[in-house]
């Protein structure tokens, strides 16, 4: 079949990868899709997707989520996209491309964006079963399947950027992983020896084995031709069940060679500054298959995007926009296996007379190097272990930064490093290097295009839409710009309240407002008054009312009256919702201390109700898989045995972990268990902006990990040291020492004040760690307030806490004694004895787990629903 071009000129794009897709967008932006027929030949079985984020498939991103192609975009612009149909031959004389399906397309302009293929060194048995490459979604699916079915040890050939990603992926699949790198260090292209050493240590600490300075000589196989390992150039053998080659990429230029286009000596289709091939003015090449006019083939997406824009602008022949591509920056920032690695500008210091500023701390795997010119110009750098400053440093590259370079590499807390804000940057500094967006463009998005949020700016400028490493700086710029242009940055809690959480707390406390409705109707935003509020302010105000309950005259029971409607779903059922609609049950086990009888009761209950049990990270026991109607029955038995709610569902005190301490441990200097129990019982049930965790260690060996807690206590010979603001979770932070050698009484008084001050001034969902970093004056200010009483509020803070402690009652005990509240614990209001049929379980390791297929196959009807219903049908 031959598609005959009509009067409209035709553009044929070969390759629908990341750069191909960007080229299509660039055509559409310039109106070329309206004036041209656009045909796309896509080899892979799916349209363009985010190859840069490929590895995130292993952390749960689905191929659909990786997609970069909006079918609506393709349709609206009338683009003909042929998926799974690669171009096979090009006839330049007749200006025809033939696809594998046999379709022939005549073109006026041909654009090649065929990308690269993974280079596999020509070692014996390189194609054996168990050998893979790492480039496409299909490659990853194959690796995953093989790893799960047949492999326990994996080896990656190549310790560059992709090799490390592949090794991390194998490790994530549960394999023991090895990396074999020919060069003497990891990531030889991006980092220098110092950076490579820091990287090596950190990667080995993660349990990966690295072999540098050795090459792969042969893949070893068994009789059936399946991989069993590899032979290395130093004569040794490495056993492995699978091998992933990641030894670099080569431009896919075969199609171009076959039709006589000029290619470089080491591959790549030779193009000029307009991305036009030097052999044929009607043919362009962009992305990884192109050999740019500066003699380089770029293996990164940002230069490819620039080439796509250049080619589109050239095809548009618009005199006002003459783009050229003459070379690009090779800056990269990666989060490899959780280690930050970045290199930018002249990272290896090749410029004449340049000087290095290096900070290296091998103990914590930190290495930072800046390359500075004679006149103080920042030329480039390498950051390993902490790439926080990457966004700003990259943008300053090529200029003289306003502060000394030394201060830019020293870690926070040593000396007084000047933190460079992005506001100090010049307008032409590149903020997003993936998309080549300058600071000025971002400012204009705010000032001229009226964007007021980061998502709007991303949409408007494309900044931050690729690797995401610039989003933090982007956010800071947007806020700064909004503030500068006099736009009130709305700091309100949500669409219903213009006040912050702190301001609402003050209003509630000062005016003794004890219902949400009163607060909304009197202090809500104009349009929100009289309404139903929202999912943000209701639980926030519910929490404020609960933490001040005795003082403002509200009920201390979170399910009382209106308060029941405010609570988050978990608090409303006093349990944690699981993915299939069942709940978990966590009784409080203060300090982690439990009697054998207590253990037996929990065991019996779990057995009788068929619950999955697990020891939590918080020194207690979690029982999973309770149906909503079983919760009261389970809790009746737990309360009878003396257990109380563990508030695992609440933004409130979770656990106070303890170590065994002085009583048993030969090192202990105080009774850490007793102190942990006392603290847990004192602060149980205290609602706060976020959850509160604590721990008490019996000596400086710190077995209870107190320094990772919101308030952590470490015993000393002279009493207790109190640490505050620690956090585990996604952004761990070590706690800061607030006071030393406290007596029992001093310790408790100080914690009372600290917690109440936090509850009073923190934002919604702000842990003590982020709060401490945000509030002006930080730790020093908090110390002034709670130790020195600089604001004169300590007495009030203490009495608020005293009221909470005196007023505490176990909410599960209250609930099981209240028939009206119990009536809510049913799956169906009209069939109270019928369990939710979607909640099902299947066995695993002698216990249960949720039956997930049940969630996806659609609702399974109960045997005969009409029989169990209390309601009736009527006309």
């Amino acid at each position: 079949m031959t598609a005959t071009p009509g009067a409209t000129p035709t553009i044929v794009l070969v390759g629908h990868g990341m750069v191909g897709q960007r080229f299509l967008e660039a055509l559409a932006e310039r109106g070329l899709t309206a004036t041209h027929r656009v045909v796309v030949l896509c080899e892979e079985p799916r349209p363009a997707y985010d190859r840069v984020a490929l590895t995130s498939y292993f952390s749960g991103r689905t191929p659909e989520e990786l997609s970069m192609t909006d079918m609506e975009f393709i349709d609206t612009h009338g683009i003909e996209l042929y998926v799974g149909d690669p171009a096979e031959t090009i006839d330049r004389e007749a200006r025809k491309v033939t696809a594998r399906s046999g379709q022939v397309f005549e073109y006026d302009t041909l654009v090649l964006a065929t990308g690269s293929y993974p280079f596999v060194p020509p070692v014996p048995n390189k194609d054996a079963e168990g050998c893979f490459v790492y480039r496409t979604i299909e490659d990853l699916l194959a690796i995953e399947e093989y790893a799960k079915a047949k492999a326990t040890v994996g080896a990656v050939v190549g310790g560059g950027l992709l090799g490390l990603e592949a090794a991390g992926a194998l490790k994530g699949l549960g394999l023991t992983s090895h990396i074999v790198e020919f060069a003497p260090r990891l990531m030889p292209v991006q980092v220098d020896d110092g950076g490579g050493a820091a990287l090596l240590r950190t990667i080995e600490d993660m349990g990966l084995t690295v072999h540098t300075g050795v090459g792969t000589q042969e893949i070893l196989t068994d009789a059936s031709g399946t991989v069993t390992g590899m032979k290395l150039s130093d004569g040794s053998e490495l056993a492995a069940d699978m091998v992933v080659f990641s030894a670099g990429v080569r431009p896919r230029d075969q199609l171009a060679r076959d039709c006589g286009l000029t290619v470089g000596e080491r591959g790549g289709i030779t193009v000029d500054e307009q991305c036009r091939t030097v052999s044929d003015p009607r043919v362009f090449a962009i992305g990884e298959c192109a050999l740019a006019s500066d003699g380089r083939v770029y293996g990164l997406v940002a230069p490819g995007y620039e080439q796509a824009e250049t080619a589109a602008a050239t095809i548009a022949e618009d005199e006002t926009e003459e783009l050229t591509f003459t070379g690009a920056d090779l800056s990269t920032k990666l989060k490899l296996l959780g280690v930050d690695v970045a290199s930018f500008g002249d990272a290896h210091g090749t410029a004449e007379d340049c000087l290095d500023v290096v900070y290296s701390d091998s103990r914590s795997g930190l290495y930072k190097k800046l390359v500075i010119g004679r006149d103080g110009t920042l030329l480039g750098g390498i950051l390993v272990g902490d790439a926080e400053a990457y966004g700003t440093l990259r943008a300053f590259t090529g200029s003289v930064p306003p502060v000394s370079p030394e201060s830019l590499v020293l870690p926070a807390g040593t000396g007084a490093p000047d933190r460079l804000g992005p506001t100090a940057l010049p307008d032409d500094a590149i903020i997003c290097s993936c998309n080549n967006v300058r600071k000025g463009t971002i400012r204009e998005a705010v000032t001229e295009h009226r964007c007021t949020t980061v998502p709007e700016v991303k949409k408007c400028t494309k900044a931050g839409t690729t690797c995401g490493s610039c989003v933090k700086v982007l956010g800071q710029l947007v806020t700064a710009e909004l503030e500068a242009s006099g736009v009130e940055v709305d700091k309100g809690l949500c669409g219903c309240f213009s006040q912050t959480r702190e301001e609402l707390y003050e209003i509630v406390l000062a005016l003794r407002i004890n219902t949400y409705q009163q607060l909304l109707d009197r202090y809500g935003r104009e349009g929100a008054r009289g309404g139903d509020g929202c999912e943000i302010c209701k639980p926030t105000v519910g929490s404020i009312i609960a933490s001040l309950a005795p003082t403002i005259g509200a009920s201390g029971y979170v399910l009382e009256g209106e308060q029941a409607a405010l609570q988050d779903s978990n608090d409303h059922f006093l349990a944690n919702l699981q993915k299939n609609g069942s709940y978990s049950v966590v009784p409080r086990i203060p300090g982690g201390e439990i009697t054998p009888e207590g253990l037996i009761v929990i065991g019996e209950i779990a057995r009788d109700f068929g619950l999955y049990t697990k020891i939590t990270g918080g020194q207690r026991i979690d029982m999973f898989g309770a149906r909503v109607e079983q919760l009261p029955l389970i809790w009746t038995r737990l309360v009878d045995a003396g257990f109380e709610s563990g508030h695992a569902y609440g933004k409130s005190l979770r656990t106070v972990k303890s170590c065994v301490g002085q009583t048993w441990c030969r090192y202990g200097v105080q009774d850490s268990v007793r102190m942990a129990i006392d603290l847990e019982l004192r602060y149980r049930g205290l609602r706060s902006p976020h959850k509160l965790k604590s721990a008490v260690s019996g000596c400086a060996r710190e077995c209870a990990e107190a320094q990772s807690k919101d308030f952590g206590i470490i015993a000393t010979a002279g009493g207790w040291n109190l640490y505050v603001g620690g956090n585990g979770g996604a952004t761990p932070r070590h706690a800061d020492l607030l006071a030393q050698d406290l007596s029992d009484g001093e310790l408790i008084r100080l914690i009372d004040r600290f917690l109440m001050f936090y509850i009073r001034t923190a934002d919604r969902l702000e842990r003590t760690s982020t709060w401490l970093e945000r509030i002006p004056g930080g730790l020093d200010h908090v110390r002034d307030v709670v130790v020195e009483d600089s604001l004169g509020i300590c007495e009030e803070l203490e009495s608020l806490m005293a009221a909470h402690v005196a007023n505490y009652a176990d909410e599960w005990a209250t609930t099981i004694n209240d028939p009206e509240k119990l009536a809510r614990f049913v799956s169906f209001v009209n069939a109270p004895d019928t369990p939710d049929p979607v909640v099902g379980f299947v066995p695993e390791r002698d216990q249960i787990k949720p039956d997930l297929p049940l969630l996806s196959i659609g609702m399974r009807p109960t045997e005969n629903p009409a029989d169990v219903l209390e309601g009736s049908a009527q006309r």
């Binding site: 669409g495 219903c496 409705q517 349009g527 929100a528 009289g530 309404g531 139903d532 509020g533 929202c534 999912e535 209701k538 639980p539 209106e562 029941a564 409607a565 405010l566 988050d568 779903s569 978990n570 409303h572 059922f573 919702l577 993915k579 299939n580 609609g581 009536a823 809510r824 799956s827 169906f828 209001v829 009209n830 069939a831 019928t834 939710d836 049929p837 979607v838 909640v839 997930l852 049940l854 969630l855 996806s856 609702m859 399974r860 009807p861 109960t862 629903p865 009409a866 169990v868 219903l869 209390e870 309601g871 009736s872 049908a873 009527q874 006309r875």
Partner: protein, 116 residues
């Protein structure tokens, strides 16, 4: 949707085909919270009542996670329209139309509901 008067013996009814199916007493609904009802064909509906007494009914199934839990979400008003936020991953659904406010492509079924 009907404005429900505050009387104790009112029943909540859902329209199923031509029939009105009686679910429960109106008093079982706390303003601002929901309950789930089992329907004769095995489907589940989530019923809500807002502060002004308006009633709403949508399918109970969270289309993202699959669990039947929308009745347990928090409700609110967004630009004057009532919504419920799923307790699983917090996507919001318009209570009048079933439209997901965080994903244009997703919508859940709605039911006519009245109190009498």
């Amino acid at each position: 949707m009907t404005l429900a008067l505050e009387t104790t013996d009112l029943k909540i009814q859902l329209q199923l085909g031509d029939d009105w199916f009686t679910v429960c007493d109106l008093t079982r609904l706390t303003p601002g919270r929901g309950v789930a009802a089992l329907l004769p064909d095995g489907r589940q509906a989530a019923l809500f009542r807002d502060r002004n007494g308006e009633l709403y009914a949508i399918d109970n199934r969270d289309p993202f996670g699959g669990a039947a839990v929308l009745s347990r979400g928090l409700t609110g008003t967004h630009q004057g329209r009532p919504f419920v936020a799923s307790p699983l991953l917090k996507q919001r659904f318009d209570l009048e139309t079933g439209q997901c406010l965080d994903d244009e492509a997703v919508r859940v079924a709605t039911y006519e509901v009245r109190a009498r």
